[in-house]
């Protein structure tokens, strides 16, 4: 199948304006004849639901949590980028576009990224009007901070909880439309399939998580805003409930999956303490402004540190290896996320890891405290230090923090065209759920920007074009496709409930995570990926024989919910491995050991791999088919990244 990304012709800066004019409109009186289904209530889902309802469409909104306000966007810490140039420091739409394309290691579409930069400025205005309490300066105007991958200050923030404030803004706009009767909200409801009628998405099948009822819902279009799939690694910074099920089931109904192997591993997270650990906690990127990353120079010293016979502050200056400063003198501790992560991993593999488990390196603030004083350090990072103390019971003002990389975000996702439509007409994917704007590596503070851009400012335009074309004729739920899909879901649920083996679903998830982290994590080799594929296939077969699922369908059943999600993660894991194996280059967060520069840095292969990989499902246990969307660069010059 040939993929048409539908990127408008013409100069970069005019593409979106021209496209908006060329899109068909639905007149105000006709909008109320259309029903739109939106799954997920994070930044993308809540902003889309509110904006479309304001326009007059009838919206049905779904989330698996007990309230739309719980969506995982709430946990984003750092901030949101926008090309406002309030600081007069040389920012512009073009510069934000350029930083994002380059940060993504030239694996994103120019057209999409430019549009993202263009609408970024509207997002800030919208949020301020909703009453989002952004940080301000004494003069009363909005404050900005700097973030990795750029040389300007363009990040807007609300202390260390920007995601929470932006989400509560979108949630309030959604609430207003629920009150107005334009949005019908379904909480504790999990989407389990897409209904496709004559090739078009016309509805979904859901499970009511309180009663177990398997229901069908019809609409003229379906929007998936269901987030990323970091939890395929078991341990990640994602919420426990974050899952791939909605996207994966859509994939199995015909939506192509784009670049599944592009995952972001964040260098500064609190290390794992044991097998009981259920999730990882991020320590903001901003800490690397003042903290120095190091490991002991020798394996012997590291061993003593691991046993606890030696403390970090007893290691002499000469015996410390500030490895990022040593290897990258120009950028030092502020190298991009992928580079910092890989280097920490190398230290651990070298036997120089610290902490009880040996899976950690130090992030040391002793110099910053000496230079700035403890009070200043506290004012800058106090809440992060408190969080660290809470979790580890160690004082980072006295001992260096222990940090280690953790999976944090997935750049891959459902393939969408410029209109955010998947390869199933009428099915859209917004926010982290799609693959479109971050290429092979996402810059800090860009995830919030993309989620809100898609929901507030892109989908309200592009959706109308599709709806105007199909017309307002009521969707008929009597169509056999609804009944059939519902039957398929019930069968799947029953199959899961019949599993009365010996191993818990959680144990399978942990095993999957170990495989993914080991072979499809920070560094990937042909040999390892091939091995992983076999291991995942064996795990899948074992799951469907030996897993334990307790309880019944007709009740609240966390065991069943989890089993369905893990079964999908296992299948996704195999596709990620296939994708990573196919992509024989290194780019951004995807590091193939076979493709590196003499200095050990990621080496792209633009001649053979400047394309989006869009995978097509061909049936259970069949190999997926690779479709390629070539990436065309008209405005930027591709260069190899170099941070030394």
């Amino acid at each position: 199948m040939s993929l048409d990304a539908k990127i408008p012709q013409g100069p970069l800066a005019e593409k979106w304006s021209k496209h908006k004019f060329n899109l068909k409109l639905v007149n105000p009186a006709n909008k109320r004849k259309y029903d739109i289904i939106i799954v997920g209530t994070g930044l993308a889902g809540a902003s889309a639901a509110a904006s479309l309802a304001e326009l007059g469409y009838n919206v049905k909104s779904f989330c698996f949590q007990d309230s739309p306000r719980r969506a995982h966007s709430i946990a984003a810490q750092g901030g949101i980028n926008a090309a406002k140039n309030y600081q007069n420091d040389g920012d512009s739409v073009y510069r934000l576009f350029y930083d994002t394309i380059k940060g993504g290691d030239y694996r994103a579409r120019e057209g999409n990224v430019y549009r993202l930069a263009e609408v970024s400025v509207n997002i800030i205005d919208q949020c301020v009007a909703q009453g989002v309490p952004f940080a301000r300066e004494y003069g009363g105007l909005l404050d900005n901070r700097s973030f990795g991958g750029s040389q300007v200050s363009r990040t807007f923030y609300a202390r260390g909880q920007t995601g929470q404030q932006l989400l509560l803004g979108a949630y309030s706009a959604l609430n207003r439309q629920i009150h107005a009767g334009k949005v019908k909200m379904y909480t504790r409801t999990e989407m389990l399939d897409v209904v496709v009628v004559d090739g078009h998405a016309k509805g979904i099948v859901t499970r009511n998580m309180l009663t177990g009822e398997i229901e069908t819902h019809a609409g003229h279009a379906v929007l998936l805003c269901t987030g990323g799939y970091s939890n395929v690694f078991y341990l990640s910074t994602n919420a426990i409930g974050s899952n791939v099920t909605a996207a994966w089931r859509a994939h199995k109904r015909g939506a192509f999956f784009g670049n599944p192997c592009y995952t972001q591993i964040h260098p500064t997270c609190i290390p794992v303490t044991g097998d009981h650990q259920s999730k990882l906690t991020l320590m903001s990127e901003s800490l690397r402004n003042d903290g120095r990353v190091w490991a002991p120079k020798t394996v012997e010293l590291a061993e003593q540190l691991r046993k606890g016979t030696l403390k970090a502050d007893q290691i002499k200056e000469d015996d410390r290896d500030y490895f990022l400063e040593r290897k990258y003198p120009a950028f030092g501790n502020l190298v991009p996320r992928d580079v910092a992560s890989r280097n920490a991993k190398e230290m651990v593999e070298d036997g120089r890891g610290v902490g009880g488990s040996g899976f950690a390196v130090f992030l040391d603030f002793a110099d910053a405290i000496k230079r700035l004083g403890e009070e200043t350090v506290k004012a800058k990072y106090g809440n992060l230090f408190d969080m660290y103390i809470q979790i580890t019971d160690e004082n980072p003002y006295k001992q260096p923090m222990r940090i280690y990389p953790a999976v944090h975000y997935t750049m891959g996702g459902l393939w969408v065209d410029y209109n955010l439509m998947t390869t199933i007409p009428g099915l859209y994917a917004l926010g982290e759920c799609n693959f479109s704007d971050h290429g092979a590596n996402r810059l800090g503070a860009s995830a919030l920007m993309q989620g809100l851009s898609d929901g507030y400012f892109v989908i309200p335009y592009t959706l109308g074009d599709y709806l105007a074309n199909i017309g307002p004729k009521k969707v008929d739920t009597n169509h056999p496709a609804f009944e059939q899909t519902q039957k398929d879901v019930i069968e799947h649920v029953n199959k899961l409930l019949a599993l009365k083996g010996t191993k818990t679903v959680n144990e399978y998830h942990r095993d999957l995570g170990h495989i993914m982290w080991e072979y499809c994590g920070m560094a990937r080799t042909e040999e390892g990926l091939k091995k992983a594929k076999g291991l995942i296939q064996a795990l899948k077969a074992d799951f469907w024989k030996n897993a334990i699922v307790t309880g019944e369908n007709e009740e609240v059943n966390a065991s069943l919910e989890r089993a369905g999600r893990i079964a999908d993660f296992i299948e996704l894991g195999e596709l990620m491995v296939d994708d990573a194996l196919m992509r024989e280059e290194s780019c951004g967060g995807h590091f193939r050991v076979e493709s590196q520069t003499p200095d050990g840095e990621a080496k792209r292969d633009d001649e053979n791999f400047a394309f989006v990989a869009a995978w097509e499902f061909k049936g259970e246990n069949q190999p997926e088919v690779l479709n390629k969307e070539p990436l065309v660069f008209e405005s930027v010059h591709l260069s190899q990244r170099n941070y030394a």
Partner: protein, 258 residues
């Protein structure tokens, strides 16, 4: 560590509930409280028993999904944190821990330790917003807001909607939760046009949901994981009274199709 847990088990809102005693063995002090429950649930699952149902999601203290009344305190004995941020080193070996759901008639039991907090959503739907549509808004810097005002609005805006304030209150009052939103928007210039109407609408919905009244005991403030201040309630009362005396709008007629 080895612990004894007394856990409230209840199949659903209609069924009768009871305390069931479990052993939690080989617990590491580094585990979070919810990870300790995970361990207990894994062993229940292995035995083919039904695991204990509790709400949780982000496990870093921001989504507001986790709850639990632990040894008589919402979110456990430590101040300023949620249950998911509570670690087992807070307890000692051999201790008996009592775990109950939030208790309030406006929060019916869903199953075991999980309750239905949708009343909170309905209160927000009644008026917890600024009525602006997407697009057509002024530039973000068009209105300067003094830093102290913005910071105070932010403090109120940090509420995570967990319901600990209701659970802590002997009257099961939701005043701290409601007043946090009323205060956040009431302080900001963007929230002024609907300030008094908002206070009226949200309070009316709060009453309809069956939450109790405030008697200024302050248990809500003491137990709030985000340390939302009691002064929010004072601000809301002031706006509500102003509305009553000078600016009352017919919100009831509108809400109920008058």
């Amino acid at each position: 560590m080895n612990l004894t847990l007394k856990v409230w088990r209840q199949k659903n809102a209609q069924a009768a509930g009871k305390f069931v005693t479990y052993k939690a063995e080989n617990i590491s002090p580094d585990m979070s409280f919810l990870e300790m429950l995970d361990v207990v649930n894994e062993s229940l699952t292995h035995k083919g028993d039904e695991p204990i149902n509790f709400d949780h999601d982000c496990r870093e203290g921001i989504c507001g999904m986790c709850s639990l009344y632990i040894n008589g305190h919402p979110h456990g004995p430590k101040r300023g944190i949620t249950t998911c941020q509570l670690h087992m080193r807070t307890f000692h070996d051999g201790e008996t821990i009592t775990i109950e759901p939030w208790r309030a008639s406006a929060f019916p039991i869903v199953k075991d330790l999980a309750v239905d907090r949708s009343a909170f959503d309905r209160i927000q739907q009644a008026g917890g917003y600024v009525s602006v549509n997407t697009g057509g808004v002024p530039d973000g810097n068009a209105i300067a807001i003094p830093k102290v005002i913005a910071d105070e609005a932010f403090n109120s805006a940090t509420c995570i909607g967990c319901g600990a304030c209701v659970a802590a209150c002997k009257n099961a009052s939701a005043m701290l939760f409601v007043s946090a939103k009323v205060t956040q928007l009431g302080l900001l210039p963007q929230g002024q046009p609907e300030r008094y109407r908002r206070a009226q609408s949200m309070v009316a919905q709060m009453d309809e949901e069956g939450f109790g009244n405030c008697t200024n005991t302050g248990a809500c403030e003491a137990e709030c994981p985000k340390e939302i201040k009691l002064t929010n309630i004072a601000r809301m009362n002031s706006d509500f009274l102003s509305a009553k005396l000078f600016r009352q709008e017919e919100i009831h007629e509108e809400q109920h199709g008058g």
